[in-house]
Symmetry: C2
Subunit: 137 residues, 2 copies
Amino acid sequence: MNTYTIAEVSAKFGLPISTLRYYEEIGLLPNVARDGKNRLYNQDNLDRLAAICCFKDTGMTLKELQTLFQYEDQDHDLNEVVDLLQTHCRRVEDQLVLLKENQRHIRRKLQYYTDIRDAQLNHQPHPDWNDYPLSKF
Amino acid sequence: MNTYTIAEVSAKFGLPISTLRYYEEIGLLPNVARDGKNRLYNQDNLDRLAAICCFKDTGMTLKELQTLFQYEDQDHDLNEVVDLLQTHCRRVEDQLVLLKENQRHIRRKLQYYTDIRDAQLNHQPHPDWNDYPLSKF
DNA sequence: TCTTTACCTCAAGTATACTTGAGGTGCTAG
DNA sequence: CTAGCACCTCAAGTATACTTGAGGTAAAGA
């Protein structure tokens, strides 16, 4: 089976080496094999790491991730795993809605300042914020 | 003009009172009027606070927000404001893409564990992870 | 043989974003 | 008049998620 050095994994995932060691230390990324003292990551480790990144990037704390993996690993009551995942799914849904709305606000502001700048360049009158309704974005 | 107490603003935005004071202290939320010692927020303050929340929720740090507002407030070179907003817009776009992809992974995992649970309940054979391609989510 | 490179451990330090606590003011309801 | 509430300041404390540093090993290239 293919294995990877810590430097390779670091590059693959864009995570600092120190972070990989940290995740292992707190038990999030267990069962990393060794060649002497040096870590050797296998596909399982990479899959786990991908899951960590996915959940972390969607707003789970490392503590919650520890709980989730604990539930997954020791074949714990599956209802708890499903519950946790469902809750998180809903959180992600909410994030998506909020993110899209925030995106509209930011685009609107960008458009406004871009127009002000262009108006200044062309010695035109300044645009009016009231002409930038959210419905346009 | 309508004004609001700190408790009202806290409720409106779902932010702790301590956070409102903190934002003011670090200069993010300036020009809050006082009735004696007590803060009174006006519409401008609320607009600024809404902007803070919007940018913060899309991943800007408070330091970056300070820079942005500095650029906006002292009518600084507008190119810098536009640049900052453009960069942030791109970051939000990236977040959206990543969030959607992560959502697919999470839904897939949720479906998988739901199916395992249901299989256990019905004494059916366990599903196979390979039957859960990302393309289905 | 030297030294550079790539790792290692373990303890302590750091950045960000708040939160908490001590001690105090000023209005209002009983 | 006094109790309680809503607010205040300022300094110190905290949670999360890492990062850094000191001191060391082991193998590979010059």
